[in-house]
């Protein structure tokens, strides 16, 4: 309801604005009126003709075109909406207006519209990742790239690094879930290599933005470890020695890749039991018995500490409870 009211006000203001501008091109004025009447298809035909001819270099014409296409895009329903060209045309039109608008008359309005449209890219990308549709995952990345491009082009860059980080972490997770699903179905690693490559690539991009995030390092290392462990576990029972040696080499390379990343995670949060366990597992994968033994001891010590801590907490709670009873 609020949105409808706002659109009506907007339409009226746009027409008033058009009239207020003495030099509005007649075709543009007509298109703006059609927009106000919500006859977007007719408005689209007019404005497209206009930008192809006399309105080619007119900022206001491009601005009106952006709004017309934006409304058409918003009214699209169904799955095709994610790839609707209308959204891109609207963005292109607002950007064109930014270029031509030497006096910055439409600057803020253009920026706001571009931010709105780029947000739809972001939201579509997130929805795809949430829905876990394997075939659509590449589209999520494509939409995110468009989100970035639009935000950058419109000068809305303040939060982009954080957004990139959030997206790459989420994209790694979405693809990792696909990999795990395939592994639970005992798939051959070749069946999910595309998704796994996306997991790895996304982690690399996230770490490039900020190498000091514990979670990024830890998750990346675990993804690598799990892959190598899965491959080893799935070496065929009847694999001959040559195959065994080759498969082992491939997995060792993955463990070797995981090691420095896990060590970085340990450096960022030393003593965390989950990273100690990960390092224990990686060192065993690398057949490094000395380091395996060392981390095994560290894990046990940590587990012991946790048990003692829990017992102390319980004892403390008991004492508090007992004291209360005594007081009562």
């Amino acid at each position: 309801m609020m949105t409808r009211v706002a659109i009506t006000i907007l339409s009226l203001l746009m027409v008033v604005m058009a009239i207020g501008q003495g030099n509005v091109l007649p075709q543009t004025g007509k298109a703006a009126r059609l927009y106000e009447q919500r006859d977007y298809q007719e408005a689209k035909t007019l404005i497209d003709n206009c930008v192809a001819a006399e309105g080619k270099e007119d900022a206001y014409t491009w601005h009106v075109r952006g709004h017309i296409y934006k409304e058409i895009y918003k009214n699209i329903e169904g799955t095709d909406k994610k790839q609707a060209p209308e959204r891109e045309i609207a963005i292109h039109s607002f950007l064109k207006c930014l270029d031509l608008d030497a006096e910055n008359k439409f600057l803020e309005w253009n920026k706001t519209s571009l931010r709105f449209l780029s947000s739809t890219y972001w939201n579509d990308a997130v929805t795809i990742m949430e829905n876990q549709q394997k075939e659509e995952l590449p589209l999520a990345e494509e939409l995110f790239t468009k989100y970035l491009r639009t935000m950058e082009a419109s000068g809305n860059t303040s939060e982009l690094e954080q957004r990139k980080l959030d997206f790459y972490k989420a994209f790694a997770t979405a693809n990792r879930k696909q990999v795990e699903r395939m592994r639970s179905a005992n798939a051959d690693p070749t069946e999910y290599e595309v998704e796994l490559a996306r997991v790895i690539e996304s982690h690399k991009k996230a770490l490039k933005i900020n190498a000091d995030v514990y979670g990024s390092n830890y998750n990346y290392a675990i993804n690598l470890y799990n892959e190598a462990a899965y491959r080893i576990e799935n070496i065929p029972l009847e694999a001959d020695l040559t195959r065994l040696i080759l498969d082992q080499q491939g997995c060792i390379a993955i463990f070797e890749e995981a090691l420095p990343i896990a060590k970085k995670a340990e450096e960022l949060k030393p003593g965390r039991i989950e990273i100690l366990k990960a390092l224990r597992a990686i060192y065993l994968g690398l057949n490094n018995y000395d380091e395996f033994d060392r981390y095994n001891d560290l894990v046990r010590d940590r587990q012991g500490e946790q048990i003692i801590q829990k017992k102390s907490e319980k004892a403390l709670n008991r004492d508090i409870f007992k004291n209360r009873l005594d007081v009562d």
């Binding site: 706002a6 706001t112 939201n123 959030d166 998750n219 470890y225 462990a229 020695l241 082992q248």
Partner: protein, 187 residues
């Protein structure tokens, strides 16, 4: 006039701003879980099975179950049980036994001695002197201590070396494939 109208429009537009969907569903709690496995034991079990296929025992040892004893390394024992206990070596069904010590040892085709049991190697060497048993160890001095096959780690990879004299002493024939893939054949 245009400017003041633009300001009004902007205010309206601000209300129309779309909120970004947060990525709550991809938070830290949703991270990957370590699927920790004893990968070393898995690979060793596959090696051991291959060793059994590529070594020949005297005819006198070909008419019973094919017995593999594991001293130490319970994970290797579990791997062998789960993967190979229903397999055959030639016509011999595989039987896997976990050994707790060297005192009472059945007649074995294969004896695996884990790295933490290396101190019992001298007594094994004495007990097994005439046995047709393939002793597999995983210690730098394994061959010196009487093992016929010994796991070594080279560039983080599990490889193996062959003690040829020890094989002859136990009347075992090492196949050419095994020799060609060994890291080292010690005379």
């Amino acid at each position: 006039m245009i400017l003041s109208l633009s300001c009004k429009i902007i205010n309206v537009k601000r209300r129309l701003l779309l909120l970004l969907i947060p990525l709550f569903c991809f938070s830290a709690v949703d991270g990957p879980q370590l699927d920790e496995k004893n990968t070393n034991a898995i690979i060793k079990s596959s090696y051991v099975y291959n060793f059994c296929k590529l070594v020949s025992w005297p005819d006198s040892r070909k008419d019973s179950n094919f017995i593999i004893g594991v001293l130490g390394d319970p994970d290797l024992y579990k791997q062998l049980i789960s993967k190979y206990s229903s397999k055959l070596i030639g016509n011999q069904p595989i039987e896997i036994v976990q050994l707790l010590g060297t005192e009472q040892m059945p007649e074995l085709h294969v004896l695996f001695v884990s790295r933490n049991m290396v101190n019992v190697m001298p007594s094994i060497q004495t007990k097994m002197v005439k046995a047709h048993t393939l002793v597999i160890s995983e210690h730098p001095d394994g061959i010196k201590h009487g093992a016929t096959l010994n796991f070594v780690v080279i560039d983080n990879q599990l490889k193996f070396e062959i003690g040829e004299t020890n094989a002859v002493n136990h009347d075992l024939t090492i196949g050419s494939t095994l020799k060609s893939l060994a890291n080292k054949v010690i005379k």
